[in-house]
Amino acid sequence: MTAHEIGVFVFILIAGTLGTDIWRWLGVFGGKQLSEESEALIWVRSVATALVAGVIASQVLYPGGVLAGTPVALRIGAAAAGFAVFLLLKKNMFVGIAASLVVLAGGLYWLGI
């Protein structure tokens, strides 16, 4: 059942709230057995990171709204430029994010959007 079929608010409560809060509640009652260093948790962390990375990639590759009709090369270029600046400046997030937004805004302006 999609959000369209069951309603967005119900969808948020089931997928979002329950999908997140269940794990918080488990932590209140003895999540102590779950060691930070256990193999299972390393796998979980790896899957969680890859999942979020996939969401990030989708936001850049298949955006909604204004960016939907823009060239994918511009979006990838802006993201790559920002990330390169971030790495070059010893993980400076603020400048890295600013760099990618400036490249994107410049490109959009040049395209006449």
Partner: protein, 242 residues
């Protein structure tokens, strides 16, 4: 008398927690929620939906997944699984926090209620400050911090939604980009284990293939395939090292 003093000190520590809003991590989080507001608007969520999502989920990765799931027409069960896979990390986080902030008489119901406000910013901040706070003030400190962060950012989403929807296209498009860039850099920056770098890179590479092969459940496929692959690479690296 001692009870009165304890009461006074609890409200004092609650207020101290609230002040965490004006810390650097607090400001970074608020900027991220400005970007999230743009993302939610451009992905087709209404103001009410975006506000509701922020308060009742209160975890940016989960919120991004839900927004993606709604706009791509993902089924609720698959979305629940995707959010769960991204949220299992909450269990050890909460489990590490609870012994630090609870008192003997603290009820489980109160802890369950307050656990909703555990997200990375409040968690890191509380664990950093907790050693300098007397035991009877710790729960109040966390509550003040967590509830304030949640309510203020919910208010940001509610009030900026109107602003974001009126922006000229260049500004709106650029603001949308804030969320993915914030996330990719904060994951990289906070990585404590090499497996995170592998998972991040492989997730980005595998995503277009999953989108092509299984558009309805692409997030789940990317997470399980790229995440497992990254884990296997990392484990063989660790075995070789030891």
């Amino acid at each position: 008398m001692t009870d009165m003093l304890a009461e006074r000190s609890r409200s004092y520590w609650f207020v101290q927690g609230m002040k965490g809003l004006f810390s650097l991590p607090g400001f970074i989080l608020m900027s991220a929620f400005v970007g999230f507001t743009a993302l939610a608007f451009q992905s087709g969520l209404t103001r009410g939906e975006a506000t509701f999502l922020t308060f009742f989920v209160w975890a940016l990765p989960s919120q991004m997944i839900v927004v993606g799931a709604i706009s791509s027409g993902m089924g609720v069960l698959a979305a629940f699984l995707a959010v769960s896979l991204a949220s299992i990390r909450m269990t050890p986080m909460v489990a590490a926090l609870v012994p630090e902030i609870r008192e003997k008489k603290t009820s489980s119901a109160l802890l369950i209620f307050l656990s909703h406000f555990v997200a990375i910013t409040a968690w890191v901040y509380t664990l950093k400050k907790v050693q300098d706070i007397p035991r009877e003030g710790r729960l109040a400190f966390f509550a003040g911090l967590g509830i304030t962060l949640t309510l203020v950012n919910t208010a940001i989403v509610f009030s900026l939604y109107g602003v974001v929807s009126q922006l000229p296209p260049i500004a709106a498009g650029t603001l949308y980009f804030l969320t993915p860039m914030y996330f990719v850099m904060s994951i990289w920056e906070s990585a404590r284990q090499p497996v995170i770098y592998w998972a991040l890179a492989l997730g980005i590479i595998v995503a277009p293939a999953s989108h092509y092969v299984a558009p309805q459940i692409d997030m789940l496929v990317t997470g399980l395939v790229a995440g497992t692959f990254a884990y296997v690479i990392d484990r063989s690296r660790r075995r070789r090292a030891s």
